[in-house]
Symmetry: C2
Subunit: 210 residues, 2 copies
């Protein structure tokens, strides 16, 4: 199954304005306040402490089902910079990225795979979203493939009829601008299949009907 | 308390495109499929049958607390037509409108109040949203005032710091265009205070913090 989970503001943004300077844009960091307080997230990121909430079980469920990730270049490493120069930059993620599984990065820049501590490997795919998803599915061997990050890759996957489930982590903030998850004509019908009320977030899961 | 409740598509629209021809725009009628199947809604609209769902209690709660409504001209009667000519047109609502309480219509066209069967009275307010809300609050005598309909009136009330609660009835459809509830910079912080999972809808209630 191919899934996409995004933290979305009440006005429909997955990142605030000014995304060229910061991957989440101005104010967009608040989209992730709910997750940063969770013990399960903090552990994956090598941090201590944190709380349990109804969101913990949502994340635990993801982890148990997940076999590989696909993300865009922005989520891996942002705009122009060392990455564009093909220097061996590790993206935003440091030596021990929090994914702990194979990650396929959709990019125009070919690059050798990058093996990191903790089980994360980045593979760079220049043949587009569908190719990246196909490679991820092969590695995932029956487990889920999650599309991570902003909306560009997810919208391409949705348009290509490849998404099976979408989860909105709906956060009660208004960003007033930025990147919208849905903006324009999108094919597909959705069926609401689960709602979990967290602390300062609601997890809404939809099946994509084809 | 001043409340606003809107059925919103997953891509953030309270009406589809082409609203000049139909108050809900193309495809926008599906935003209200969830409510039309409810017995509580059908009874209010003089219809028989219908089902109970978790949404029924949400609507019953509204009814118990509600003292008056405020709506825009579009919700009362739509675009150019008899209404613009000051003919005694009853808007979209027929002889026995489903509100059964005082309704204040924000409009540029002065008109005598309209008393209908079943307890609905339409009062036409030409001094703007704040004046309409003030009049509604006076009549409501401590009960809630609900802002109904599309987003224009609600956004003006929010910008004026007059809204206390917002409820999204989030419907798993994508309209691809139309009228957005939030579009641009909106003041105010929101606190998530309640989530109810219905059939084909999720009710998300937020308190506006000031």
């Amino acid at each position: 199954m191919i899934t996409y989970s995004a933290s979305v503001s009440l006005d429909g943004y997955t990142a605030g304005p000014g995304q060229s300077e910061h991957p989440l844009g101005v104010g967009g960091g608040r989209l992730h306040d709910w997750i940063k307080e969770l013990a399960v997230w903090r552990t994956a990121h090598g941090m201590e402490g944190g709380i349990e909430s109804p969101s913990s079980a949502v994340l635990d469920g993801d982890d148990a089902r997940l076999g590989a990730c696909v993300m865009g270049r922005n989520m891996f490493g942002g705009g122009p910079g060392p990455w564009a120069e093909d220097e061996p930059w590790n993206g935003w993620w440091g030596d021990n990225p929090p994914f702990h599984l194979p990650v396929f990065v959709v990019t125009h820049h070919a690059r050798e795979p990058l093996e990191c501590k903790g089980g994360t490997t980045f593979t760079f795919v220049t043949e587009g979203v569908e190719a990246a998803i196909a490679q991820a599915q092969k590695v995932a061997a029956g487990k889920d493939v999650a599309i991570n990050g902003g909306s560009t890759v997810a919208r391409q996957a949705l348009a290509a009829g490849l998404l099976d489930e979408i989860r909105f982590n709906l956060v009660p903030i208004l960003l007033g601008g930025g990147v919208r998850l849905f903006d324009g004509d999108i094919p597909g019908e959705l069926e609401q299949i689960g709602v979990v009320e967290g602390r300062g977030v609601t997890h809404l899961t939809y099946r994509v009907l084809r």
